[in-house]
Symmetry: C2
Subunit: 221 residues, 2 copies
């Protein structure tokens, strides 16, 4: 029967920004095929219990990293007879974002070796076609980040404008002019100043902000 039914799986590119670097979570495979290679967290679809492939993706993240993410989005489907030595496989790729302050806790959540790998210098070797998956998810993330509220999912609940600008710059890889960035934010009604809440040294403490859920910031590319 193996050849007649494809393997169906969900894989997740979970991104964060650490040390001003865009990073993706990789797990070192314990088992064959490709034991020792680094792979995205993923799981096979369980038709008996998974209500959808998004459910499969969330289950994979929870089982392998104990992470629950608010925002999970489909990127693309990878399919073909040569992707996996176990048979014809259909892999649905999702991406998700984790705020930097939650990222260190993920590493080491399981006995399995876990790494937040710089997307520009991935760990080697990468399993299956996951290098291609990461490249596509990164491209999608960069496209989205310039027009949507995605950077907020990478920030802590309260953040400074400098942190907000830094996340934009890290994900897109493009420096932004500080004064024009701030000017554009001035009319953003969904960005809320937290009166009396400051962060940082005694000399130049920085104002903290939070975003309301519908925050949507349009960056000109």
């Amino acid at each position: 029967m193996k050849e007649l039914f494809p393997i169906v799986a969900a894989d997740v590119a979970l991104f964060t920004v650490l040390e001003e670097t865009l990073r993706v979570l990789l797990l070192q495979r314990d088992n064959e095929p490709q034991a020792g290679a680094w792979a995205l967290p993923g799981a096979l679809l369980k038709p008996e219990t998974d209500l959808s492939l998004e459910h499969t993706a969330r289950r994979a993240l929870a089982a392998k990293t104990r992470v629950e993410v608010p925002h999970l989005e489909q990127v693309a489907v990878f399919s073909g007879p040569g992707r996996d030595p176990r048979g014809y496989s259909v892999g649905v790729l999702f991406y998700a974002l984790l705020p930097a302050d939650q990222a260190p806790a993920v590493a080491g959540a399981k006995a399995m070796d876990v790494a937040w790998s710089d997307v520009a210098h991935l760990k080697r070797p990468i399993a299956f076609d996951h290098r291609e998956m990461i490249a596509l998810a990164t491209t999608r993330l960069r496209q989205k980040v310039v027009q949507l509220a995605l950077p907020l999912h990478l920030l802590p609940a309260k953040f400074t404008l400098t942190q907000l600008q830094s996340v934009f710059e890290t994900v897109t890889g493009k420096p932004l002019d500080k004064s024009s960035f701030r000017r554009r934010l001035r009319d953003e009604k969904n960005l809320v100043k937290l009166h009396g809440e400051l962060e940082g040294g005694a000399n130049r403490p920085a104002q903290l902000y939070r975003a309301i859920s519908s925050f949507r910031f349009e960056m000109k590319s």
Copy 2:
């Protein structure tokens, strides 16, 4: 075994613009389940022969409509136990575009009843969750059309600027100012004027153009 292996299929939302209306190709189902309902062209993945789900999608179009499309793009994956009475199903949705001059030939290419249905007034009833699929594909198409060269896939090889503007307006549903539209096209090096080739009546014949493959026209939304 049926419950343990999902059904995997590709479905295609094939769009055209006819009578200044954005239309999607629907086929009336001959067989159960949902005989008589209107559905997108689709096919089950054949792991023995399909190199990928895009291959499945192209095979479905060729078999059911005799259409071969240059541009086919993934939209999303629909999955779950309740989508299809035959079992847990994973449906990968693609969209494709067909120039208006090729569209009339599609209708009637098979004995099966075929319709180019106005996306705003779809035929009824629609099979499975294909109404949701069409809505999502239409949204994606509208997003893409403002930033990419997609309208060209809806135009004949040679077209007038009035035709180009009309396709933009029909797909996005937004009227455009003629003079600013033309002004923006003036610097578009990938749009080639066909010297001496005109179309239309003796009084006001219109200049014909063609696009080179890398043509990319950015619409401000």
